[in-house]
Symmetry: none
Subunit: 194 residues, 4 copies
DNA sequence: AATGAATGAGGATTCATTCAT
DNA sequence: GATGAATGAATCCTCATTCAT
């Protein structure tokens, strides 16, 4: 039985606290002290584990992307056929997890970070390419050459709908959000066949 | 010959400097001193005219929305028929003006501000409603009851595409951006007729 | 008929505004702009007339002392005999004019100024010596050699009572204040005779 | 052996430095930096311990009142009989400690603070009530019903004499000050018996 | 591993004062 | 005489980060 070090536990606590605090503040204007306090430790310890604030933010971003990726993979396991798989991808993008206020808020702020911090931009790029390739894989059998454009469109649409929900304070409407994208998907498929 | 007061000139200079600096920094982490210096005056004068930093940011946001609104109205003048008008709206959203790096950057950061500052949220709401009603007016004759959903979709798509371009450092591709949305528009129209 | 320049009018307005603002703020933390605005002019004009802020404060102090001096002289006109004159002096110190909240407040703050600004200390010295000599003149016939000490005591008592009223926000009680000092005066006189 | 935390030491150093600086400046126009430097630490640390400047001033005020209270209690221990106790109270009010230039200066400025800061007014109120009740307790056996008025008078006189000394730059004369009040006390007692 | 102590750097904001008109 | 324009200097306060223990 491997002795679990305290380090990963502390780090995880800090990452979660970071996301929570960003959600609470609605911006990246969050102090290390606030984060550390929420994680139940001193600010000095947070620095001990992450070196600096930016690294902590990046770790939080990585965490969100990791969870999102896992969820997508999980959703695809059960889906049969390209259409079902596409729907699963869309639904996962607006899953309860991803629509938690704090996650939405974190996403928005990662967008901002990506303008300044190269590593943040790289991570966001990974997310976008992964989404694109996921969509593409299942659009190809249905749309052939039209698939790349449809993938680009659906990817952008997902982000746009997500963005709008992020801006609407109050409970976001998951059903409406995924419904909108799913119907756009149908339009594309219908058009592809015509 | 009306004597042009110096106040509006100074204010305009500050608003422009604000947008420029936000663009340069890629974030709202811009000091009043930096803005004032770029506008060719002291930080104290900036405070004299705008009271505080937030008001300056909001003025910049208002300015961008105003220009955007004017551009949309301008584009609609020449367009004949609903389809042409819809295309004009889309094209304007990705106009050269709106795709200036600094404007893109400002938009992104206003999204963040909207999570915290009520007035910013209000302004963003105005933009969204205006875009929606513009789209709706011309979609209605073409799609009837299907118009609201299509408007929601196109609005979100515009924002999503804009967002993606904003994140792609380097020259954004205006043609690709509007092409993507215009094709989605065609899909909707085609589907509507079917 | 002498043509009254506008200068004395402006100066008087500024002096009054200064006293009012000090009273309102309860401290010397009053800006020239606030004073000027209350006096109905620009801050620049206030500087034009007084040179700097300190001079304005000193002018206000002088004004208060002048008015107080005039009131004392006025009160003495009617009083007959040393005892009546002493009572008049005491009563004037707690006159309605001197107990206006703003005047009380100004006094307190002049005490502070006197610690730093030589001219303020000089003015305060003048007030104290004048009060002392007034008291002394009428105490001498009644107490002989005991007069100086009694004068010192009564002077300090007047200041002390005044100070306490100044600290009691809410309407100061003029009757109680002068009553206290008048009784102390009686004690002194009684003791002097014994 | 209790490990003495550094916090109380730092706080005490800051309180002392505050009193010293106020004394040196003769006003509350003292910067946190000046205070911190005199206390041998950074301004940031001062804020760390006291939160803001006002709290630091209030702590200084509390300290002075505490020391004064202790001194009074100490002086009363040895005094036998009401008259001796009253004399002890008066003497303590003009003790060497209370007449250190910086303490005098601090008092004066606390009077000003009391006009604006509720907590300062509260503290000053406590001092006044304590002084009054101390005087009253020993005046009652000597003067009966005349005690309250005498207490009010002596309290005000102490403050007035103290104030006058505060305004006289140069070494204050403790003997003269307490002599004046003690003689007033005798007048009152003499009058009470008559 | 963990933290309180400590600070340098920085930033918004205020204000007395000057000056051109 | 009068003022809006303009600014330099100052101050409070915050915070990421370091370090000794």
């Amino acid at each position: 039985m491997p002795k679990v070090g305290v380090e990963p536990i502390r780090k995880a606590a800090l990452v979660n606290a970071t996301i929570s605090e960003i959600g609470r503040a609605g911006s990246l204007d969050v102090t290390v002290s606030q984060i550390a306090k929420r994680a139940g430790m001193s600010a000095a310890l947070a620095h001990h584990y992450f070196g600096d604030k930016e690294s902590l933010f990046l770790a939080a971003m990585r965490h969100i992307l990791t969870v999102y990726g896992a969820e997508v993979r999980g959703g695809l396991v059960m889906a049969e056929g390209p259409r079902a798989r596409l729907q699963a991808i869309v639904r996962t993008s607006f899953s309860a997890m991803n629509f938690r206020g704090e996650v939405v808020s974190a996403w928005l702020n990662f967008y901002v970070m990506a303008q300044t911090v190269p590593e943040a931009q790289r991570l966001l790029g990974i997310y976008q390419r992964r989404l694109r390739s996921n969509l593409l894989a299942d659009l190809r059998p249905l749309l052939g050459d039209g698939a790349p454009r449809a993938a680009a469109m659906l990817g952008a649409l997902i982000d746009g709908v997500y963005l709008r929900e992020a801006l609407t304070r109050g409970q976001p409407d998951r059903e409406a959000a995924s419904g909108l994208v799913l119907l756009a998907l149908e339009s594309e498929l219908a058009r592809g066949k015509a």
